[in-house]
Structure formats: structure tokens, C-alpha cells
Amino acid sequence: MRKFILMLALFAFVGLQGVFAQTSVTGTVTSSDDGGTLPGVSVVVEGTSLGTTTDMDGKFSLSVPADATALVFSFVGMETQTVAFTGQTVVNVVMNASALDLDEFVVTALGISREKKSLGYAVQTLGEEALGEVRASNPVASLSGKASGVKITQPNTMGGSANIVIRGNASITQNNQALFVIDGVPISNVNTSSNKDGWGGYDYGNAASDINPDDIASVSVLKGAAATALYGSRAANGVIEITTKRGTKKDGIGVTINSGVTFNSADHSSMPKWQDKYGEGYGAFYDDPTGYFFYEDMNGDGTPDLVAPTSEDASWGAAFDPNLMVIQWDALDPNKPNYAQATPWVYPENDYHYFFQTGVRYTNNITFEGGDEKGTFRLSYTNNDETGILPNSSIEKHVINFSGSRNLSDKLTVDANITYTNQNATGRYGTGYDGGNVMQSFGQWIGVQVDFQKLEELYLREDGSQLSWNASYVDDLHPIYFDNPYWVRYKNYNDDHRNRIFGYSALNYKLNDWISAKAKVSIDSYTEVQNERIAVGSVDQSKFSSYTRQSQELNYDFMLNFNKNFDNISVTGLVGTNVRRNTVESVYGSTVGGLVVPDLWAISNSVSPVYVSEALRKWGTNSIFANVSFGYNDFVFVDLTDRYDVSSTLPEGDNGFNYYSASTSVLLSELDLFKDMPVLSFLKLRANYAEVGNDAPVYSLYSTYAKGTNWGSNALFSVSSTMLNPNLKPERTKSFEVGLEANFFDNRVRADVAYYNNRSIDQLMPVTVSPLSGYSSIWMNSGEIENKGVELSLTANVMKTDNFNWDINVNWYKNSNEVVRLYQAESGEEVKNIMIMSAWDVSINAVVGEPYGVIRGIDYVYHDNGEPMVNANGYYMMGDDPAANIGSIQPDWNAGLSSRMSYKGFSLNILLDGQKGGDIYSVNTKYGQATGVYEETAGNNVLGNPTRDNIVSLTDGEYSQHFSGGIPLSDAAPNSGGIILPGVKEDGTPNDILVSAGRWGRAFYYRNSPTARYVFDASYIKFRELSFGYTLNKNLVAKTPFNNITFSVIGRNLAILFKNTDHFDPEMSLGSGNAQGIETGAYPTTRSIGFNLKLGI
């Protein structure tokens, strides 16, 4: 039925062909920069809203009324030109780049270019330079700080996924990531990583990182539901709309070579700080007279020798002393000449910083482009070759992009754009609390005396087994808890491959001068393979697993665009239909019970029958949509959209949902009232309201059984721990936004401020329930979350002379969200909390009445004066509530500050970005302190004595190391060790009780500490980007074979200018997804410094 209505609609428009044509004007618009043609330029008859845009070849044809006086040409990044109209039939225009572009045209949903002033919603546009200049390996990450309302969390792993959330988390448990659209083609940004819960696995990166920065022409950030309504439900989290570069019409073929080398290194300020005074051990628990060492006769001389307690992964051991000779881990291999040789017990020459290397990334791009009267093309090839900061890590990427268009007739144009990417990675970094993540050991569990150069030299024994610092015992060299980190990197490495094609082909047909039809088929198809290894002889049982995943999305679009002006009223719009089909097919296989043949990486090399699991998911939507915009006298614009989706993932009969938006833009500066204000050059008020729906993830309706591993020939099945629900209905988001755009001083200062309020109701999610109900979670329509916020962006042209130009841009935004309600249980009881993620005694939650992402755990007990209290023994008192609110992952605000300066051929661009507030729980700090690895566990106390020394009482004398109580400072002998924890006693006076801090289980022990002790403020300011470029002037270039030469120095993540976390980067993330706010085994921030040379031929 709907199809029929659609057909009627189409014919209705076809039937409306009118005859309004008058003088026909044609022409070509070119750029003064390179002489190339400019597509998408707006051509408007001055004083009317009659107009058109240039086609792919920069050509236009427009019917101009006889009484017209001038034509106005405008284009993003170009100075607007007005050409007097005196009845000529051909108008060719050359446009100059504007120093401060006015973004007059922006790319909106479905790739439609729209006049910015007519838009009733916020769209922030970033030019080519935003991504193309620094050419980060993950272009998603390099959006950070460049647009307000867009919160990016950077991965610190090589090729890892960046989390991108626009205007806050609208979904409590489901996807909150923005949708990526390239030239109108939605592309998958799925993170298929196995690491999202913080318990290990690898971050395989988000799929949008396949976008090549060299191919990007501009980026539009569509933030609100009104801006994205045409994309339907999947765009509920905002859209990053990328427009790629096109060929331009020119004589001959343009060739550009862009070559860069970047050096990546670890930012040491973001790494755990170790103490350098005490070595391995948990305390004086062992066998020699001091209690700090194993005591075995290793060299056969009949007397026992001191041996480092290699089985212990902590640093509460003996104090370093160059005269203390100890047989250490590296002297335990009987096949080595240094077997049983003692070496001094000292902090090593090469500590764990030695492990991090300088990675190098080569990026080479070559682009050919050209065009003639009939069409244009662009072909680009990019090779990206990168090594990481860890040993044995690399990514190699090839990207080929081809775009072309051709006019088959005056009216018919074909257009295609296709990108092929091939990516091969080896040795991605393991993540989370897992032995595959070397940072678990470096940040939490290790003896700090271990020399890393020796680890590198000795990790592989003659027989192929490993030697680790963490040998089980002097005569049992199998590592007990931790593999040698070089073994982890060289033996237990992973590799992965992705082959992808995305793009479209389209047919445009110009029915007449105000209606065009477009048919488009787009595809995004990729196959990825992820192989993971654990070698024979590792701590964990040996294993090989391989995961192959094929993902395919097909979109079929048909649209009619129309554009018509009646006197003072302009009408533009479209009607269209979309059919989307998704298929994901995957197979995971792994060995069981270990590998038979060492280093044979095949699933069939399994001790026990192999494990296999398959998935096949198919889903889709059928949609119709329409959009119409009215403009009155270039003063008021009204925009209406409607879309109806039928989704396969919802119950039959209740699977259709409608969404719509209405927005308006009023150009107040057109009013006489404002026309008299010379300072104000432009003032626009915009407002919109939208309601959008969302469907369920595929297969959320009908329960199936979970398969276990067979017992012999018997299958084992279990009721799935997630209960599905056949009564789900679509979820809804209601969104309201107002904004003001104001330009001052001849548009040299431009401000944009927006306020929004989004309310998402009936959220579809698996609600975590009591497992005593038989299920761990149940799919429900539940919950309501509200996001409201303010976004501000300010651009100022500070200085402009003939040679010098300086722009400053500030983006600031604040999002506050509140979980309004969750769900009502059958009993009528309102559920107040849903756990999003938990790790040990801490959890990240959605709590009614609180912002999304409340950190819960045991709090301190606070005195009325606000200080945490200690008990009579001098340890922290712990709150009774095991789930007290002790922080929130939501920042107070985020901001970015950029400066762009140019002088003649030189340019200098700087970007700082930062976050105020937000909290993060640090697993590293919890364990790194408990194990005595961190700096603060080895200082001096108020008496000037090492805190690790035994407590000495004036009345009772010296206590043993195992004394667990505390003594008041007044009773402490001058030589007493121990530490006074910051806080107050129960009477509110400052704590003055010394407690022991000399071994595992004392002042730095997590069981003696509330969870809140490990929650830190995540504020930061980062020196995010720097680029310094020089473009040779044309006279010099003329003497070379080239027509353009640009050299630049670029840097990313150059410094963390401010942070409140001692041992890690507060921006640390486990990867993209909702599980944010817990740091565990964080990698250092990667600092990049590179050089780039761009040659145009």
C-alpha cells in the first residue's frame, strides 16, 4: 500500500511540470586557486530566491527573469561574488578563496548541500584541513576539540577505536556512537573488538577508521534529531557526514603527491611512576634470615644463597643495596653461563620505559584528477605503514578511491564513488586486566628491579620455552602469573586483516529546471579476520583462535528533488524511498585444551575437539521520507521532514514508526531594527523540534538456547542468560533545540550558541536483573534519559593584512544528562539502578535522578568538616553502603581552542583541547599501590624516615613488619617508620596515627581502603595538534617541475598540559562503547611528530 502511495506521489510531482522559464543563463564557475571547476556553487538571482547550484563540472543553467539586476555566486570557502546582469546568456565566474569563509553552503543529511542561513538546526562544518593536515591514522580521533558537542575519547592503542558521542549518551545500554556517512553512504563503524569489558582482548579499531584523511574534502557534524531525521533511526546519535574530494575540470591531469613520515613515542608523563628503592616480594615472608629472599643452595657450595622471590609479582621486597648480592631471575636458566651467579640488588639500568620504542608511520598518497566538459574523475591511492610503540606491532593499510561523474546527456548524469581498503595489522596491543596487556604488569604487578634489556635478551630459552622474571620457583622456570613481556609481544601476538569496499553509483536525471530525480545504490561490504595466539609455554593454556566476520550493508535510494521559487517564496524539497538490507555473518573457531604442536597456528592443532560458533544476522528497513523547505524573502525559513520506517527487528504489526521534524530559521539581521547596528553584521535565530524512533537490535525478540561444549558425544544446552521479549516496541527520542548565530564587525567575529534538550523514552535495552529470576538480563522497553546542553563556538579573525591572517576558534560545550526513570517491575516497584559495567568492587551505573555513568562503590566516611575519617587504628573508615555514589563519568564541560595563522607561504596551526570534571576509577592505581610498585609507596614519613620501616613505639619498642595496628605520632620513636594517611580522626582533628606501610596488606592495601580512594578527577588540557607549514611561492615553484610544493611539520598529542592523575592519561578508554570510566592497564598516550611534503604536478 505504501508503495502505491509513493508512486502516486512521484507521478504527482512529475505532473506538476510548469512553464516558468524566462531568459536562460548558463556559465561555468572556476577557482582562482588552480583553475579547476567548482561544483555546488550557489547561483542566485539577487533580491529573489530564484537560484540553482553548479553541477559536477561547475556548470549551471538558470532561468533569469528579465527584470533581474545581478547574479550572486556563493560557495563554501570562497568570497561571494555579485555579477551584474544585463541580459547576457553566458556568465563565467572565477571565484577567490575567502580568508574567513562564511560557510554559506553546508552539506546536510543525505549529502544535500543547503544554504546555512536557511537551516533551523546546528550543523558545524570542518574543512579539509581539519583532518587532512595532520593525517592521523584514525581520522575519527582527530575530530577531537574541533566541534562543540562532539565528545571524542582517544584510544591509546595502535589502531584502537575512538569513542565518539554527540550531545551525550542518549541510550542507556545500546549504541551511542555517531553515524558515519560518506558522500551519503552510511558506513559501518562497528567495533568488533573483544575488549569492551576491561577483561582483556584486543581493540581492533572502529570501522570508520578506514576513511582516508587524504580523500576528505569536508566534514559536517549534524548534531540534533532535526538535522538527522532524514536518515531515520540509525542517526539518532548524530551524524558525521563526510564529503570526499572530487575531480575538477582542468587542462591535462592534475597529480598530487603527499608524503609524510611520523614518529610515534610514548608520553612518559602518562605512564605509571615507579618507586626505585625496593625490589620484588610481598614482604618478609620467605626463607632467608631477613625474610625477603628464597634461600636455596644454587651454586652447590653447601650454603644457601639469596635468591630473588621470583614467584612474587609485587615490590614490597628488600631495600636496594649495591652491596647486596642476589641470584635473580636472569640467573636461573641452567643452560646459561651466568646460572646461579649473584648480581647486585639495585634498581635496574633499564626499567620498563626501555620497553617502549619509537614507532614510525609512513603515509604516501598520490592523486590523479581531471575533467572535461563531459565529466570529471579523481583517483587516489594511499599507503599507510605504521609501527607502534610496542615491540612487534604494525599496521599496513592501502586505500584506493575512485570517483567520477559523466554527463550522458544534458539531463542525465551518472556518478560513482568507490573506495577499497585493505588493512593488515600484527601485534595490536592487548588491553584490560589480562596477561596479554603488558601494562597490567607494568602498572600493577611486578618487581621493579627487573632489567628490561635482559628481559629482551633472555625471553626465549634454547628449548623454545620462556624465561620470565616471574618464574614459579628456582627450579621451576614456568612463569607463575606473568609471561616475560617480550614473550607476550613476540609469541602471543595477534594479527588481523580487513578488506573493504564501500561506495555508490548514482543516476541523476534532471526532469526540468526545478525537478531532478536520483537513483542510487550504495554498498558497504567488508570481511575481517582476527587471529589470536597464546604460545605453548605461556602462563595461560596455549590457544589459537580465529574470527572471521563478513558485514554487508546495501542501500537503495530513490529521490525526487525539487527547487522552485514563487515571488518571495522559495520551495525546495524532496521525496524519497530507502530500502536497507544488512547481513553479518561470522565464524569463530578456537582450539580447546591447548595446542598439540607448538607454534602451529591452526585451529585444527587442538588437543581437544575444537570450539566453533557461528552467527548469521540479517535485518533491514523499508522507508519513505519527504522533506520540504519554504523560504520567505530570505528572511524566514521553515523546514519540515517526515520519515516512516518499517523495521524487520520489531514484532510484526508493531514494527512501523514515524518520525518527523520541524525547524525554522529567522534572519533577524534583515529587520530594520538590526540593520542600523553597524557592529552586527548577521543575526539568525533558529529553533527546531523533532521526534524520532529507533528499532531493536536484530534478534531481540525470540529466545533461543545457549550451546555449551559437548561432553563426549553429548550436547549441552542451557537457557540463555538474556531473556528476549516478543513485545518490544520502538523507542522514541523527543528533541528540542534553539540556537543563535551572530556575526560582528563585518563577519570577522562569529558566534554560534545552541541550547538543546533531548528526551529518549521507552528505551530498548537488556535490563540487568537479579540472576535469581533465572536470567541475568531481560530485554525491555524501559527507561527515559534526558540530555540537555549548551554549545558555543566562537570564531574571530584577530588580524588580517595582505600577508598575515590570524583566526582563533573556540568550541565549548556542556552536556548534562539525567536518567529520568528506568523501569517498573511487575511488582510495581520502580527500579532505581541499572549496572552498565562492573569491575571488582566498582561499577558504572545508570541511576534514576543521576547523570548517566555514576561510579558506585564503597565511599570514605566523612567528618562534618568534609574530610575522610580514619579509625582508631589509623586506617580509613569505610562506608556501609557497598554501592555509594563516588563519582560520575560525565564531564562538567569540554572545550577546544585553535589558532590558525598564516604569513605569506607560512602557516602555523595549534589546537588545544580539554575537559573539566568527570571521574575515572583506576584499577592500575588500586593494584600498583597495593603491590608497592608506585612511587608514593616508598617515600619518607613526617619523621623523615622511610615509610616502609617498622613502626617503633616509645612505650612498646619496635613492632615487627607484620604489625597491623597503628600508633599515635606522640608515641612514635624518632626512628619510626609508618605512614599517616591524609584525613581526620573521628573527632575531626587531623589524623596523627602512624600505620605500617612496609608490606602487602597494609596502608596501601585496597582491602583497607574504600573504593573512593581510586577515583580520580579526569580533567585535562592537552596540546592536541600543531602544524607548521610552508608553501613555496609561485615564483620559486615555477623553477621546478611542480606547480605546488608544501612542506609541513605536524604534531599530535604533544603534551598533556594539565591532569590530576599521577599514573595514567585521564582520557584513557577501553575503546569505543558505553563502558567508559574505568582505567585498567592503560597505555601511555602516543605522541606523534611528523614531516610532510606535498607536491602538485
Binding site: I480, L716, M723, Y1006
Partner: protein
Amino acid sequence: MKTIKYILMVLVIAITVTSCEKPDNINPKAATSVPVGTLFSNAEVSLVNQINSMSVNYNTTRLLVQYWQETTYFSEARYDFSSRNIPDNYSTALYRNVIMDLKEAKTILNASEFTGGLATQRDNQVAIADILQVYAYQVAVDAFGDMPYTEALQGIADPSPAYDDAASIYTDLLARLTADIATLDASQGSYGSADFIYGGDVAKWKKFAASLKLRAGMRLADVNPTAAQAAVESAYSAGVFANEDESGILYYSGVSPHVNTIYSGFFVDGRKDYIPTNTLIDYMKSLDDPRLPLYFNTVDGDYVGAEAGADAAATYTNYSHFADRFFQPDFEAILIDYVETEFLLAEAAQRGWNVGGAAEDYFNNAVTQSILYWEGTQADADTYLAAHPYDAANWKESLGMQKWLALYNRSVEAWAEWRRLDYPVLNVPTGMVYGDIPSRMPYPFNEVKNNESNYNAASAAIGGDDMRTNLFWDIYDPI
């Protein structure tokens, strides 16, 4: 007209595409129906895994009854349940992985419309599933006290179930066993090869049910002697285990992941986290217990145990290790056995209940059977019993101590019987008092977040969600 031609062409394409078949919405790679035997198998294996597990994440009862001590990370041996959410994992394993799958199997079976022999087989299957559910519920109640029962496992119909009174649950569990014993009909089979314990032998399941009823009944001996006596005597007359071959024992297949927990922990995970305590080793040494070399190896010619609940790390190599048998991948796990029923009958006789024999005879046979089970000899047993005869005057001590020794590697039951019989007298960990040794497990920590009001009501009803709160059947305080 050319224009119309194009339009039509495009429309044809659009319509073709729009009429593409819409994908259906059922996962094609997952089962929507399965044979009941597969659910039963999973429940059986999950139950044994949970009872037998030595993982610090799932089951720390070996530490609670001081069989074992931890080497480097000793907080669980000092009764830290929260760091690893042990109560959550313990209860979820029982409810989700055992009772729920059995419930599903029963639901499928009860929906069948069989007649004759098939109906009898179906009834046997339902009864056996019910017996294992009773077993799992008793383990849950013995760990926590009041637990969800009547409102449990309802899914979306009741995602936050209320807790039932533990004594009432016991009453119902006993009634269910009585009914199951009556239902079981050995003329027909049950689960066949999907039953890894008895291969579907209905007669043996009947004995299992009676033995379980004996255990559950005896648990009430102090708090409700009348009910206890009735249950024990009826269990005895129904026929409990008569020899070790009838015991409820699962022999692991030995193929990963279906392997014995000690093999899994020490070999698969490559860890050395546990050593025996001196509480156990020193006591066995003092008795010259013939099982000592069967349980443990020597270190430098002697048996050495570590201090239970010590506030310090211990080096693995300095202490006795578990005997080789425990490291075999297919080493068995016991749900309930003949040794245990003989101990229970000894106690019943001692209490003057009618179980067809004398306390001392049952006791002697229990100890003898335990020694034989661990591959000691009849002569070992005779010598041992001669040196340490049954002491009727201090029967709780005699039974408590010997049962503790016999239940080694079956710590869930050992922990329950230690609480009930108040023997052995365990060592008090550094810095604690005797009452700090847990009398129950704290409620699952996530219940505070997921099921708050019912959790609060249950905590109040049992006298506080504290590991020192006694269970309803544990009415005497030791020492």
C-alpha cells in the same frame, strides 16, 4: 517521451527493490528447541562444577573449613567475599546454570502428551530433574539462609523475586523428595547417556533421592527434631546407598573444559595458589591418619601445612602439595556418597532414631569406607579405629572430626556439617575471633542494586546480612 521512459525505468527499479523479501527475525544459528537431555546434562555438569570448584571466584568453602590456605593472595582465606563477588557467582551458578535449566527441562517434559512406558519415562525424568533442583536449592539455602524460592526463576514475570523463609523452603524440599521417591519407577529408564552420573539408572536415582533426604532431614536435627526424625526414618526405609558403587559421583570426561577443578586451576591456569592448612595436616598427623599420604605429598620428608587464614604470604614449595590423584583431569567429584550416608545413619542411631543399626557400627563402617575409598586398606582402617574408637559420650566430636576428614574435597557439605556439629574446632586467623569464621555467606552483592527491597526484607528476617549470622538450623554456637 524519453523523460517518461527514464522515470518508469527508475520506478521499476525502486519497486523491485522495495519488494525485496524482508528478513525474518529469528536467529538462524541458535536452537529454538532442544532435547530435554541436553538441558539435564548441562544442569548436572554445572551443579557438580559449582560444588567441586576451587576457583576463588566461585567457591571458597575449602578455605572456610580450613582444608586449604592460599599462598600469595590470601584475602579470600581471610573471608573477603566482596572483592571477587563470590556470593554472586555462587548463587548465579546454582540458580541460573542448574535450577533454571532443570526447570526448563521439566516444562518441556510436562508439556508432552505421552502415554504408557513413555509417560513413565517422562515422569522419571521430571522426578530426577526435581531431585537435582532440590539438591541445588539446599546448597543455596545452606550458604545464605532465606532465598528466593516461590518467586524465583520467573524471568520477566518477576525480575526481582522476594525471598522465602529458609525453614519453609526446607519443608518443601523434603516434601518434593518424598514425592520424587514415590514417582520413580525403575521399570522404565530416564535420561540414558545424557545422565553422566548414573547413565539414567532410575533405581540408583531413587537411592540418591533417599540419601539426599537423609542429609536434608538430619540438617534439621537440632532445630526441629521431630521433623528431622520423620524425614530421616522415612529416607532410611525408602533405601539409602548400600555401597560406594551407588554413590552420586561424577567422573569428569577429562576433555577440556570438562575436567577436574584442581587440574584446571593448577595445570590449565598454571597457578599455585593453594596449599593444605596445618589445621588439617597437624590433626591428621596426630591421629596417624592413613589417609594423610593419600591426600598429600611430603616436603623434605614431612607433611607441612600452612597457617589457615594467615595474614601473610606462604611459599608454595615450602609446604605439602596435593597427592597426584587430585591433578588428574578426569578425577571425580562427589555430590553425595555411601560414606556420608553411613555417618548420617550413625548420628541418627545415636539420637535414638530407628535406622536399623547401632551408632558405633555405622560410624566404624563410615570411617572404613572412607579409607577404602581413598585406596587405603581394611587393615589401615582396623588399626585406625582401634586407636580412635567411637566416643558415644562425645558423639558430636567423634562424628564431626571424622566427617570433616572424610569430606575432604567436598567442602560445601563439610562447611555445613561443621556449622551444625560444631566440630572440628578450627584455628582462629590472626587478628580475628572464633565467631568471625563465616557461619553463612553474605547475600549476593548485586542484589543490593538489582533487588533492593526484597534484599532488605530478607536481611532483616535472618538477623542481618552478615557472614557471622547463624542459619536457622545452626542453633548452637561453638566454643
